[in-house]
């Protein structure tokens, strides 16, 4: 990343994104950038607007204002299908799995493989599912069972497999390790590094600041729907990030956003 950021076209530019639910501004004039091969960590309290912001990018949530540009060009993202066309894949916090069907059906949901007669090619899908799950979770063997009966970690692997199988260029991970034990969390960390090496841009939402400092290149802190500040992880300390999250106080190492506490006016 380093010094090249300023000269390269960002993979994603979110500009002045706003989303309101009723009278509440869940996301208020948020701008952010994501570069190729970069991990952008988004932090904030529950209700800070992190999930809503990334849902705008993944097409799951309609924005009331603002623009999205992908590789410098304006992108029309109004639904999840649009987002997938731009190579945006999302691992949702809720995992968004259809509980009653099996792993392969979930992984290929919305882009099923077909035989030459136009019917579902379940065996081909299962074969590919086996290969991708083999990389993520080598012990996974329950390809015939509905995902409802899987453990939290197994379900999470299915959701991750779905996101990485289709050559994502932009990967959104909303609390990807929430249901995982320490060993599986480490695996996800490894995966993030590997995908990063493949030049995929990753937006990572996490509550775990230690994880974020390990994985992210930059951190964007949100509070009450606004960006408090954005900083390289090397330029701020964990305490300063906590200060952004809790107090809305932008440290000197970060670029302040519209949500930063301005002392003069108070």
């Amino acid at each position: 990343m380093d010094a090249t950021d300023a000269t390269r076209t960002p993979l994603v530019v979110l500009r002045d994104i706003s989303v309101s639910f009723g009278g509440v501004r869940a996301v208020d004039q948020v701008s952010a950038e994501l570069y190729e091969g970069e991990v952008l960590g988004i932090v904030g309290h529950n209700g800070a607007g992190k999930s809503t912001l990334v849902k705008v990018l993944s097409g799951a949530c309609k924005r009331d204002g603002g623009t999205i540009a992908i590789r410098g060009e304006d992108a029309n993202i109004d639904n999840p299908r649009d987002a997938r066309r731009y190579g945006i894949e999302t691992i949702y916090q809720t995992l968004a799995l259809a509980d009653n069907v099996d792993a392969a059906a979930n992984i290929f949901l919305g882009r099923e493989l077909k035989t030459r007669w136009g019917t579902l090619d379940d065996l081909a899908m299962e074969a590919q599912a086996r290969s991708v799950m083999g990389r993520l979770n080598p012990h996974f063997a329950r390809f015939k069972d509905p995902v409802k009966s899987l453990s939290g970690g197994q379900r999470q692997s299915v959701a991750i497999a779905r996101a990485i199988l289709f050559n994502a260029r932009i990967l959104i991970m909303d609390e990807p390790t929430a249901a995982l034990g320490p060993q599986e969390t480490a695996q996800v960390g490894e995966l993030v590094r590997k995908l990063k090496a493949e030049r995929i841009g990753i937006i990572l939402i996490s509550h775990d600041i230690h994880d974020l400092f390990d994985l992210a290149d930059r951190i964007c802190a949100m509070k009450n729907g606004r960006v408090v500040g954005t900083a390289r992880v090397s330029d701020v300390s964990k305490d300063e990030v906590l200060g952004m999250i809790i107090l809305g106080k932008c440290p000197p190492g970060a670029t302040p956003g519209p949500g930063a506490m301005v002392l003069e006016t108070r």
């Binding site: 999840p80 299908r81 968004a96 259809a98 099923e112 136009g118 065996l123 074969a127 069972d145």
Partner: protein, 429 residues
Amino acid sequence: MKPGRLHPLALFLRSTELDTRTLGLIAALLLIWIAFHLLSGGLFLTPRNLWNLSVQSSSVAVMATGMVLVIVTRNIDLSIGSMLGFIGMIMGVVQADWLPKLFGFEYPATWALTLAAGLAIGVVLGALQGFIIAYLGIPSFIVTLGGLLVWRGAAWWVTSGQTVAPLDDTFRLMGGGPEGSIGATWSWLVGIAACVAVVLSLANGRARRKKFQFPLRPIAAEIFLAGIACAAILGAIAVVNAYPWPIGSVRRYAQANHIVVPEGGLFIAHGIAIPVLVAIGVGVVMTFLAKRTRFGRYVYAIGGNPEAAELAGVNTRWVVMKVFMLMGLLAALSGAISIARLNAATNSEGTLAELLVIAASVIGGTSLAGGVGTVAGAMLGAVLMQSLQSGMVLLGVDTPLQNIVVGAVLVIAAWLDAVYRRRAGAAGS
């Protein structure tokens, strides 16, 4: 899941990968049949009764295949009985009034034009309800409850309540009866074709699994499956071929074809009734739609988690609307079978049919919570309900008591299914 503790027979059954819930349903059906047979002093398991049972089940079975998909998407359709009545009236008027005015009576294409008109109207009515449900976001319970009243009223309106009869002779074949059956030879041919299809599909599945190097069923299990399926098919054909035409029909047929009826009567077998053939065809097509197409996959995914389906890029509204269009089409087809069987279109045709269809689906293992249910199960459910009803008629049980029994069975079936599901969920398989 400890295979070591299982009985060898249980292990073998597991290796066939048959659905245990469907097996349970078949077992329940066989128990009911045997019980009625014993209680009625040997009247139930006769070719005549089983043939009638198959014809009586077909109308509800056809609609149950669509109701499964409706319920799987977490919706309900209460309007199909009324829709059946309304479309039945229209089909009655079209074939008995409009088309004869244009082409004269017994025009050879009358049945086809009538049926096509009925099916088209079914799709349109289904599309209208589906649109309101999927795109305007009104709960299906309300929309189709409205439909129940609207279409029943409309059915009266078609002829101001007058019954339309008689119907076109060719159209009537859809209702069954001696002429509306395909006879012994064709029945055997259909049966053999079905057996060949079963064997080919098992062989094809095995070949494809081999290609992907997936675990295969033991060859003994494959042969066992093929054997059971073929025996069931050919056994059913033998039963319907053992049911002779009634003496009156034989006499008319003999007169028309200048055959002298030999002493002791002429044996002409019914064979498979056309409505049964239609129902089986619908079952095969609907199973194919549900299991092997994208549409079917989306139907189940929507039932499992509508939000997830939407996030995965599925156009959930359009899928739900299509499900209701399909339901309308099947209600129209059922209407054709019903009026053909009665040889009359009445505005009360199909009253309460929606409840029988929903009951058949639930008995067949469809969960009202959505996401779970099979076409084959719902069809078996329809046969089970019809078996209860006709069995009680054979035993001379009063109608009110029949209703009580059917109602109780419905609730017990739903309870057993809930227990099964909870245990299966706890076992983690």
